[in-house]
Point group: C2
Chain length 598, copies 2
Amino acid sequence: MSSVLNPRDLAFHLYELLDTDALATRPRFAGQDREVWDAALATAQQVAETHFRPSRSRNDADEPQYLNGRVVTNDAVAPAYQAAAEAGIIAATHDADRGGVQLPHTIASAMIAWLEAANVGSSSYAMLTAGAANLLAAFGSAEQQATWLPPMLEGRFSGTMALTEPDAGSALADLRTQAIPQADGSYHLVGTKIWISGGDHDLTENIVHLVLARIAGAPPGTKGISLFLVPRQQLAADGSVGAWNHVTVGGIIHKMGWRGTVSTVLNFGESGPCVGWLVGEPHRGLTYMFHMMNEARIAVGRSAAAMGSSAYRAALEYAQTRTQGRLPSEKDPTTPPVPLVAHADIRRLLLQAKCATEGSMALVLTCARLVDDEQTATTEAERVRATRLLDLLTPIAKSWPSISCQEAISQAMQVMGGYGYAREYDVEQLYRDNRLNQIHEGTNGIQAIDLLGRKVPQHGGAALQAFAAWVQADCAAARAAGLTDLAEGVEGALTALGAVTGSLVAELQADATRGLANASVYLEVASRVVFAWIWLRQATVAQRALEAGASGPDADFYLGKVAAARFYVRCELPLNTPALALLRRNDATVLELPPAWL
Amino acid sequence: MSSVLNPRDLAFHLYELLDTDALATRPRFAGQDREVWDAALATAQQVAETHFRPSRSRNDADEPQYLNGRVVTNDAVAPAYQAAAEAGIIAATHDADRGGVQLPHTIASAMIAWLEAANVGSSSYAMLTAGAANLLAAFGSAEQQATWLPPMLEGRFSGTMALTEPDAGSALADLRTQAIPQADGSYHLVGTKIWISGGDHDLTENIVHLVLARIAGAPPGTKGISLFLVPRQQLAADGSVGAWNHVTVGGIIHKMGWRGTVSTVLNFGESGPCVGWLVGEPHRGLTYMFHMMNEARIAVGRSAAAMGSSAYRAALEYAQTRTQGRLPSEKDPTTPPVPLVAHADIRRLLLQAKCATEGSMALVLTCARLVDDEQTATTEAERVRATRLLDLLTPIAKSWPSISCQEAISQAMQVMGGYGYAREYDVEQLYRDNRLNQIHEGTNGIQAIDLLGRKVPQHGGAALQAFAAWVQADCAAARAAGLTDLAEGVEGALTALGAVTGSLVAELQADATRGLANASVYLEVASRVVFAWIWLRQATVAQRALEAGASGPDADFYLGKVAAARFYVRCELPLNTPALALLRRNDATVLELPPAWL
C-alpha cells in the first residue's frame, strides 16, 4: 500500500521549490538544517503511519459518543494524540524557552500534513490545541502563557476555539455570549456556542476554550467582541486540575465526515458560575481571533491538500494494478485486459487530480513559507511583503484546495468505480471528510468577499501588486528555462485578472453589494491564476533539474511536473475565459433576481 | 416542511412542456386523461410521503444486515415496497392484460421520481423489479412471462440484474460465469457476481435474478454472452415457492450512500445445482440487456434529478427562513439580520441548483416521453425519430444529471453551511446517495465513449441530425416568443457542437483510441448544449404563458423559468468555450501521457 503522501513530492516542495534550506541561516532556526528537518518529517510520517493511519476508518465508524454529559472517544484517539504531542507536533513552531521545538512553519506544516492525510479526524484535536496555544502565545499575558502553555504543548491540556453561536454563524457581529466582570478581575461567561470542534472529550486532563463574548455594555457589532480564556476545569492553587468550571455539553452534532472529531454544543455558565479571563484588551477579540484565523484558514487548505493527495495516491496505485477492458482500437476480445491507467480517460482523471493535489500542497506550503518570512525575514520590507502576500493568498489557500481537492477525490473515486464508493476502501471517507473544508473557518463564499472586498483593495492594492511582481519574476525565470508557453499563459492570465480587478474595485467602492455580487466568481478566477503560477514555478524547477541531467525515476518525476503544468495552463486555466467575461460585465443576474423566482 | 418535489414544476414539465395530454389519443392509453394521471401522481406523492420519506434517514443509518447467510432489512422497507406495488408503481407501464396499469412512461417516470426523491434506498427494490419485469416482458418466452411476471408485478417476487463480476466491471466482455446445458433444456449456473443490488433481502417470497453468463463453448467477448432467468427459490409444480436454488450470498458491500439498498456478492451453484433458464436466444444476452440498460440509464438520471430537487428545495426553504448577516453595503450592526436568500452569493448557489435540477427533470421526462413515442407514436417515422433521439440523449440523460445534480446538492449544502453537512439534516445524505449515479449502470466515462464512439457516428450521424432539427425548430419558436438572445445562444452552441463532432468522428474512424481520448470533454460539451436547449424550451413555454396573462405566484414561476434559462445560456453555456477549444485540437495530453509521469 502506498504511503498517504508522496515523500518525493514533499521534498520537492520544501527544498527545491521553497528553498527551505535558506531558513537555516536565520537566528530563530540556528542549529537546524535539512538533516534536522528530514528527521522531524520522518518522525511525523512514522507517527502518522503508526498511530493515525491504522485507525482512520475505525475513527469514522466508531465516533465520539455523548454519555452522561461527557464525550467519550474510541481508544485509538488518545494514544494518537499523545504520540503527536511527544513527537513535538503540537509544540513544533513554539519558542524553545516555552517548551517548543522552534521549527519553521514550512516544516511544521509538512509534518502536520502527514497526520491529516492519515486520519484527519484524529489529527484535529492536536491542531486545535496548537491553534489555541498560538493565540495565547501571541496575545495572552505572561501569567496566562506561563500557566497554560506548558500543559498544552506537552499534551496534558487541549484547546478549542469557540466562536459560532446558534444564531451567529458566518455573522459573528451578532454573537451574544456575555462576559460579566467580577471583582477579582475575572469574568463570568454566560451563553451558548455551537459547532465547537473538540469541545469535550476524554483525551486530556483539561480543555482550554478560547471564547468570543461581549463584556456587558460593549458596543454592538464586531467592535464589541472580546476574547476569553475559559478552561473546562479550574486550576487549583498548586496548578493541578481543580473543580469543574460549568462548561456543559448541550449535545453533539453528527457530521457527514470528519466524524472522529467531535462537534459540540457548549453551554457556558448554565448550571453555575463559569469563570473566564480576558485575553489581551477588551473589544479586540475579533482582531486577535482573525490573526489566528488566517493560520486556521491556511490549515484548512493544507488538510484539503493532504486528503486529496491520499485519495490521488490510492487511485493511482489502483489504476496501475487493476486491469479492465482494452483500448478502443483493440477489437480482439482474446487479448489480455490492460491496466486501468492505459485508458486515456483514466489518465485524464488522474492528471486533473495530480494538478489539484500537488498544486494545493505547493500553495499551502508556500503560504507556510510566507508565515516564516513574515516572522523571521531579515528586513522589514521582506516581512511586509510576506504579510501582503499572505493577506491575498489566504482566502485562496483556504478555498481553492477545498474545492479542487474535493474534485480530485471525486476523480479518484471515479477511477476506482464501485470500489471508490465502498466503505471497504478509503476514498469515500476522504470524499466525506474533505467536503467540510468548503464550509468551516468561513465558508468559501465568505472567503470570496474577504478577497475581493478587503484583501484586494486594502493598502491601495499593495497585495495584488506584490503578487504580480512575484509572478512576473517567475515568468521571466520560466522563459529563461525555455518554458515560454507557460510564461505566456500565466502572464496573460495575470493581466486579465489585473484588468478585471480594477473595474470591480471601482464598482465595489461605489456600491459594496453590487461590487461583491460576483465575488465567488472572482475568487475562482484569481485561484486559477494562482494555481497556474504555482505550476509554472514547479515546472521551472523541474525543467532545470532535467537540464542538469536528472535520470531514471527522478526524470519521470520532473517530466510529470512539466507535463502537469502544461496541462493546467492549456486545459484548466482557460476555464477562466467565460468567468472573466461574466466579471467584466459584472453580471447582475444574481444581484437582481427576486427570491420569489427561485 | 416543503415536499421533496415541486408539484407545480412537475405539472409544468408534463403538461406544458411535453404535451402529455396528446398521449390520451393513442390506443394504448385509451380511457386515460389528465384526471387519471393526476390521480396516479397524487397517489405516488402520497405513497412517497407516507411510506418512503419518513424512513429516509433511518434507512441510511439502519442498513440491511447480513445474518446467517441472509440479508435482513429494517422494518420500514417491506411496507414501502408493498405500498409501491399496491399503488401500481412496479406495474405502471406494463400491459393491462398482464396485470399492468398501462400508463405512459412519461407519467410512470414522474411517479417513480417521487419515491426516489423521498428515499432512493428503499425505492430501488421496486425499480429493480420493474426493470427485470420489463426485460422479461420484452424477451421472455410466453411461459416465462406467464410464470414470473404476475408475482413480480404484484409485489410477491422481486427482481435483479446480475451483470458485473469481480474481474469484469466496465468490461462485460470478460465475464466468466458459466451456464452448463442440462438434458431438460435448463442450465446450471456456476460463477460469482458482485455489486448486485437487491441480490438478497427479506422483502418478497422470491427473487428473480436475470444473469449474464456464457454457455459452454460460446465465443469469447460480448458475442458469447447469454441471458438467464435464475430464481433464488425454485417453483414447485403448483407454482408455489419451492426449494432453494443454490444462490448464495458471498457477502455484502457497504457503500458511502444509497445504503438502504443492499449490494451483494452472489455465488451461483457454489453449494449445489443452480438452475436457470435461457431468456431469448443464445449469445444475445448483452443485446437484450442493453435494450433495457438504456431504460436503466435514463432512470439513473431521473434519480439524480429527484435527489437534486429534494436538496434544492430543502436549501431554498432554509435560505428563505434562516437569517444571517447583512448586505455588504449595510454597515450598521444594529439593523436586523436579513434572510440568507437576500445575499447575492446565496442566490447564485440556488439559481445554479435550480438550473441543474429543473433542467435534469425536464430532460429525463423528455426521454420518458420519447420512450412513449418509440413504442406508441402513430407513424413509423415518428417512432424511428424517437429511437434516434433516445440513442443520442441516453448517455447524456444518465451522466449530466448525475454530475450537475451532485453540484446542485453541493450548492444546497453550501447554502446551509454546517447544517448542510450535519446528519441531523437531509442534504448530506443526498450528497452521499447521488454520488453513485456517476458510477453505476456504466460510469460516466463509459457513457462518454458510448456517445462519441457509437451513438453519434452510427446510422450516418442520423441521431445528431434529428436532434439538430428539433433544436432549430425550438429556436424558431423561441424567436417567435421574443427570446432572441436565447435562440442565438443555443443556435451558436449547436453549430459549434456540429463542427467539432465532424472533426472528431473523422479522427475516431481512423484511430478509435485517439478519436476517443477526449470523449469525456465531448460529453460535457454536448450535455451543456442539451441543457441550454431544454432551458430554451422551458423559457419559451413560460414566456407564452406570461404573454397570456399569468399572474401572482404563477407569474413568478414563469419569470423564474425565463430568468434561469437566461442565466444558463449567459453564464453556464459559455463553459463550453474552453472545452471546445480543447476538442478542436483534440488535445493529445492525456493520450500521450506516460503513466510513470503521474
